[in-house]
Amino acid sequence: MVQMAAPLLRLRGISKRFGAVQALTRVDLDIRAGEVVALVGDNGAGKSTLVKVIAGVGAADEGVIEWQGRAVHIKKPHQAQDLGIATVYQDLALCDNLDVVANVFLGREISKVGVLDEVEMERRTRTLLGTLSIRLPSLRAPVASLSGGQRQTVAIARSLLGDPSVVLLDEPTASLAVKQTIEVLDIIERLRERGLGVLLISHNMGDIKAVADQVTVLRLGRNNGVFDVRTTSQEQIISSITGTTEHAVSQRKSEAEEDELWQ
C-alpha cells in the first residue's frame, strides 16, 4: 500500500491537549522525499495542530518525531527550519504592510555592516519566484494589495527560502478561486519534482486527487486510515473522514473493493 523508501519525517504517537480538549491522540505520520501526502479530516480534527507540532509552534505533549531516522526535539520554529522543515500556515503569517521582498526575507534579512541589502534580497526573490514560475505585479507593493492567490504564492516562496526538504501547507487553496488554486497546485507539483516532501492539508478532494500521492485521514484527533490516492475512491476517503465506517473496517473494505475492481 505504501512505497518503502525511508521517510524523511516520521511522527509516532503524537498526543496534544489544550486544557480539556484532546486535540491529538497517538497520531502517526510519514513524509517521504518526492511525495505529496494529503492530510484530511473534518474541521477540528487536529490537522492544524499537527502542523504546528511539526513546525515547532506548539510542541506535542507526547510522542516521537524522527528526522531522517533520528529522534529530534522541535520546540521552537527555528529548530524546525534548521532541520529543513518549512511551514505555510493556514492563517498566512505574512506582514500586510511589508512588500513581497521584505516578507520573503522576514527574520532572515541579508545585511551588510548592519544595513539591509535590499538589492540582493530583491534579486534572490526574483530568482526564487522565477524558479517557481510565479508572476506578481510588483515586488515592492505591500502584500496587503495582492490577491489571495498571490499572497499564498508569496507565503510558499517565503517558506522555500532556506532550501527545505519538507514543506507543510495548511489549507493553501481554501480561500482561492479556481484559477488561483490551479496555480498553487502547479507549484506543489514543482516542489515534488524537485524532490521535496510535501504535506498538504486540504478539504478539496479534487485538489487531493490532482496532486497527492497518499492520503492520511485524521478523525477526532486520531489516525483514521492511510490511503493510496491512485487506488482509493473518493467515497472511501470521505467515509473515513466522516467516520461512517470504522478505520480497520474501511481499510479492509477498500482492499476488498479494489480486488473486485481489478478482477
Binding site: L116, R126, P137
Partner: protein, 426 residues
C-alpha cells in the same frame, strides 16, 4: 523632503527587465520625462492607497497660503524662523510616537516623561551643581529607563499599552512634582548647554546653504549609487532622470528654507539637531534589520513571531525609543523657556505630539509611517498656532481647527487602509 520616494514604491512587473539605459546625461527632454515618471509614480501610489506625504504637504501649502493672505507677516523670515524653533521640542516627542504607532501601540506618557526629564536635568544641574552634560545624559537615560518599564509591562506582562502609559502619565507627572519640590520652578543657566540648544544660530549664511547643499548631494549620490547597484544586479531601478527630478525638488525646498533662515538669524542649532535625528532614525527604520522588525510588528505580530523575531525585545525597545525621544524633546522645550516648572510637559503637549505623528501620515493601525511625518505634522500644528497668534484669534478657535485637521488625517488613514484591503481582496 518627505516626498522623496521610498524603495517600496517602485512598481515594475517582476518579469520585466530593469529600466532602459540611463547612463546618458539628463537633457531637458529627459527632465520632462523624469517629471512624468515621477508624477506617474505619485499617481500609482495614490491609486494603491499609499498616500504617503502628499495630503499633508498639500494641507501645509493651503494653510500657509491662507494665513499669508490674512496676514503678510506670516511668511516673514522672522516668523518662519521662530516656527522652525517652535516645532523642535514637540516634534522630537512626535518622532518617538511614530515608533510606537508603527508597532500599533500608543504611548500616553510622553508629556509627563518630557516634563520629568526637564525637572531631573534642572534639579541636578542647577540645584545640585552637577555638570550640565552629565545631568543631560542622566535626564535622557531616565526617559529610556521609563520606556523600558512601560515596554516590560506591555510586552512581558501583556497589559495594553494604553493603560500602562496612562498610569505612566499620572505617575511620572507625580514624580516630576516630587523632584521639583516645594519651590516648583527651576530656572536654567541661560548661557548653559541646554539653554544654548534653542538659542544658538549658525549665523554665517554658509551654514544653512551648506546644509542644503550637503543634503541634496548626499541624497543624489545615495539614490544614484542604489540605482547603479540595482542595474548591475538586474532588478528594476529608478531612471537617472527621475533621480534628477527628485533631487531638484529636494534642493529647491532646502535652499528656499536656507534662504529664509539666513534672512533672519541663520540656521538654528535646534533645527539642525531635529533634522539629523529624523534622518538617522529614518535610516534606522527603513534600512536596518531592526527597523524591518519594528515594521513587521505593526503588520502582524503573529507573523513576526513565527519569523523568529524577538517580539518582546523589539516592543520593549520601541517604548525605550519613545521614552528617550520624550526626554530629549522635554529638554528642548525647557531650553526654549530656560526653566523647568510644575507645568512642564502638561497641557496640549501629549495630544499635539500624537496628532503631529498622525497628521504627518503615520497610521494609527500600525505598520505604516515615517519619522518625517513627525516634522510635517508638527509643522501643520504649529503653523496653525502661529497663524492664529498673528491674527490675534483666541486659542479656542485654534484648538477646534487643529482638532478638525486631526480628524481629517485619521479619516484619511482609515480610508487608505480600507482601500488597500479592498484591492487585496479583489
Amino acid at each position: 523632503m518627505a516626498v522623496r520616494g521610498t524603495s517600496k514604491n517602485r512598481r515594475a512587473p517582476t518579469g520585466a527587465d530593469g529600466e532602459k539605459s540611463t547612463a546618458r546625461r539628463p537633457r531637458p527632454a529627459d527632465l520632462a520625462q523624469g517629471c512624468r515618471t515621477f508624477l506617474e509614480d505619485v499617481r500609482n501610489r495614490l491609486s494603491a492607497g499609499e498616500l504617503g506625504a502628499v495630503p499633508v504637504v498639500l494641507g501645509l501649502v493651503v494653510i500657509w497660503i491662507i494665513f499669508q493672505a490674512l496676514n503678510g507677516a506670516f511668511l516673514s523670515p522672522r516668523n518662519l524662523s521662530n516656527l522652525s524653533l517652535d516645532i523642535v521640542g514637540t516634534g522630537l516627542i512626535a518622532v518617538g510616537i511614530v515608533f510606537v504607532l508603527l508597532i500599533a501601540e500608543l504611548d500616553l506618557s510622553v508629556g509627563s516623561v518630557s516634563g520629568l526629564a526637564a525637572a531631573v536635568f534642572a534639579v541636578l544641574s542647577v540645584r545640585n551643581g552637577m555638570p550640565e552634560w552629565l545631568a543631560l545624559l542622566i535626564a535622557v537615560l531616565t526617559g529610556a529607563a521609563i520606556g523600558a518599564v512601560h515596554g516590560f509591562f506591555v510586552a512581558r506582562v501583556g497589559v495594553p499599552s494604553f493603560v500602562v502609559t496612562l498610569a505612566g502619565l499620572l505617575a511620572w507627572n507625580g514624580l516630576m512634582l516630587y523632584v521639583l519640590g516645594a519651590s516648583g520652578t527651576v530656572n536654567l543657566d541661560d548661557q548653559g548647554l541646554v539653554a544654548t540648544l534653542t538659542s544658538y544660530y549658525f549665523s554665517h549664511a554658509a551654514a544653512a546653504y551648506g546644509l542644503a547643499a550637503v543634503g541634496s548631494i548626499v541624497f543624489f549620490l545615495a539614490s544614484y549609487q542604489e540605482a547603479r547597484r540595482r542595474k548591475t544586479a538586474g532588478v528594476p531601478s529608478r531612471p537617472l532622470r527621475e533621480i534628477a527630478v527628485r533631487t531638484a525638488l529636494l534642493a529647491v525646498i532646502a535652499f528656499a528654507a536656507a534662504a529664509v533662515l539666513n534672512q533672519f538669524q541663520g540656521l538654528p542649532l535646534a533645527l539642525l539637531i531635529f533634522l539629523l535625528i529624523i534622518v538617522c532614525l529614518d535610516f534606522a527604520l527603513r534600512r536596518t534589520p531592526y527597523g524591518r522588525q519594528v515594521f513587521s510588528l505593526g503588520g502582524g505580530i503573529e507573523a513576526a513571531r513565527r519569523a523568529g523575531i524577538n517580539v518582546v525585545w523589539v516592543r520593549i525597545s520601541v517604548f525605550m525609543v519613545s521614552g528617550t525621544m520624550a526626554a530629549i524633546g522635554g529638554l528642548f522645550l525647557a531650553s526654549r523657556i530656560t526653566s523647568a516648572s510644575q507645568t512642564s510637559g502638561s497641557g496640549n503637549l501629549l495630544l499635539n505630539a500624537i496628532a503631529a505623528a498622525v497628521i504627518g501620515g503615520t497610521s494609527l493601525y500600525g505598520g505604516r509611517g515615517r519619522t518625517w511625518s513627525a516634522l510635517l505634522g508638527i509643522l501643520v500644528i504649529q503653523s496653525i498656532a502661529s497663524g492664529m497668534a498673528l491674527l490675534g484669534i483666541q486659542a479656542a478657535v485654534q484648538f477646534m481647527i487643529t482638532g478638525g485637521v486631526l480628524l481629517a488625517a485619521v479619516v484619511l488613514d482609515s480610508l487608505t487602509r480600507r482601500s488597500q484591503r479592498a484591492r487585496g481582496r479583489a
